[in-house]
Subunit: 343 residues, 2 copies
DNA sequence: CATTCGTACTGTATCGTTACAGTTTTGCTC
DNA sequence: GAGCAAAACTGTAACGATACAGTACGAATG
């Protein structure tokens, strides 16, 4: 608001934030020289660079972001596009923490770009493109044919997705191996003697729906089990999940094992099971994926597999930055494996 | 990176992002006039303003943030200072969602400024002050005598805190009424015939420790109950909480009621109770504060009180913005009451 | 010795915006 | 009709950084 600058415009008043001008004045060099020295340009003498760097460090110089951004277009911002709709288990926090951890060691700031997933998902992406407000973007809830991916790819905006796509575009991503998860989950249930398995799966719009299904079905086939279909998805309100599961349990042909693709869902599934008068570990077993360890605390009978979302955040952050730096996208793809509990 | 500008520097190539220059060219006015017209300055003719606004809307003009920031120092950024240490129940997500909701209707962007709460808490605040990277700041984990508050107040940086302070500085805040919470919790437990009450309280460094204690003690006195001291705090690892509670339950004088200041803690407390062979609702009752409704799902016997953190985020965002706009801090303080479940 | 070259450094213009100090036009006063 | 004020508009400089096109100067070249 009110500039407390001590009138005199020269760089002689120390409490002000140092700029290139300040350093130029102190070293007796030109502003350009200072700028290039700090960038380690080849046409600056070694000794000069040293001197400039010393003074810069001494003054605690930090380039003015607005200046850089205006001149070069580089924002030093990574945008995380977030759905702000209800979410129970703190998935988002973990993602944010992971990204923050990586960005903390860089010049990048993390900007949260919210959107409601009832609205057009392209809105935030278009905003970023139109205003040039970020150097890179991280998105989640990726779909097999994702319009956001198409748009960003087309416009050359670096990005990384949480989840894969299947549209012939090679781009950075990080994903959890949901196929391995459901596959192993089936194996674990069959090992416990369960044969009639239900699956609480993600919305069929999302990319990992297919992986989830494939692993499940291969598992069924391989280990000789049958599917008891469950109609709700992980996106449904918890009350709906509970009700569906309760109904299924009360049906004539209830499952004796259930695989659950989300931690929040698992809680509702458990409630449904208990509401129908069944007990985990006795009448039925459950394998659930979770991103925190709450489930183990509330029903140790639930077999849990851990998805390290914080690690996912770190990978995604590293991937966008690498992409911004021009690394080829095929080198920036990673899939993390399900982690079984230690015991 | 590579500017795809179509060489010719005039404003005649439409696909480029429009600037004041573009509008000036299209209206035949000067850049200054356009700038002032869009700001509704008094020295611009009404008809001109109208014309400029029309063209601006038509072009989808959005002021270049870097330009504004460089010239005026206004960043249009609100920084949320976040502890990225473990957190179980998605408290952070809710806060972020609430803030985002409010900022979405403004020019402000939300930047996450992480820090580890083992490090000096002043680091992120100093960074923001030194680099002028935000117009306003939101902090949490407020302490009664909080050095961050002192620093920001001293330097005139607008901010709002989640939690009150007690240091003679009047500043915007939003808080949950923890005193009412513990007070009512005690009443609820006594109403169930419980008299020997334990309290899982926050770290004594935090502001709401005192409120929590006061409400609890007034409650004890008013309703005639005694405290069974519990040594751990909500900040302790869940395993420690469980062990402490288990030990307490096995002691010669175990509590028959417990008040729990955090949802994550409640899960561990419950585990401790059960590990000692007791059962909620039969041998002991628990009242817990939570910011999601997980607890109701996992142990309906837990009496829960809801803290609407998302609403807290909204309040904080509105408060910082109002403070930036010069509203007096005493008008920007709010406390939200405990919400009992509907039933 | 004049020319060329390479090294090390510098000045100017520019990104988009706004503060400030004008300028022009019109209308009014005396 | 000279003088003045208000209304409406405009040009220039500046914020801090960098791209680009220089300049100065000593050393190598022919």
């Amino acid at each position: 608001m009110d500039n407390k600058k001590i009138s005199g415009s020269g760089p002689q008043s120390p409490p002000e934030r140092p700029t290139l001008k300040t350093i130029a004045f102190m070293t007796g060099l030109g502003i350009t020289t200072v700028s290039r020295a700090l960038k380690d340009a080849p046409d600056i003498g070694a000794e000069t660079k040293e001197r400039v760097r010393m003074v810069a460090r001494q003054l605690g110089y930090q380039p003015n972001r607005a200046g850089v951004r205006l001149r070069t277009g580089k924002t030093n911002v990574i945008a995380l596009v977030l759905s702000i709709d209800e979410e129970i288990m703190g998935f988002t926090s973990q993602m944010v923490f992971g990204i923050s951890e990586v960005l903390a060691g860089t010049q990048y700031h993390l900007v949260i770009t919210p959107h409601s997933h009832s609205k057009d998902p392209l809105v935030p992406v278009r905003y970023i493109l139109d205003t040039g407000s970020a150097d890179g973007v991280i998105i989640s809830r990726t779909e097999p044919d994702d319009p956001r991916v198409r748009l960003m790819d087309e416009r050359g905006l670096p990005f990384a997705t949480h989840g894969r796509t299947d549209m012939g575009i090679v781009h950075p991503f990080h994903d959890f191996d949901n196929e391995a998860f459901t596959h192993e989950a089936v194996r674990a249930l069959v090992a416990k003697g369960r044969r009639r398995l239900a699956l609480l799966q993600p919305s069929s719009k999302l990319s990992y729906y297919a992986h989830t299904r494939i692993g499940f079905q291969i598992g069924l086939h391989e280990y000789g089990a049958e599917e008891i279909p469950l109609r709700v998805t992980t996106d449904a309100p918890l009350a709906d999940i509970r009700d569906s599961v309760e109904a299924l349990m009360r049906s004539s042909h209830p499952p004796d094992g259930i695989v659950c693709s989300s931690g929040g869902g698992a809680i509702a599934v458990n409630a449904g099971i208990e509401a129908a008068g069944f007990r985990l570990g006795r009448d039925i077993d459950m394998v659930a994926k979770q991103s925190t360890d709450v489930l183990n605390w509330i029903r140790p009978e639930i077999i849990t597999i851990y998805e390290d979302v914080r690690h996912g955040g770190r990978e995604l952050a590293k991937a966008v930055i690498a992409r911004i730096d021009g690394i080829e996208p095929e080198l920036l793809q990673s899939i993390s494996s399900p982690v079984w509990p230690k015991s």
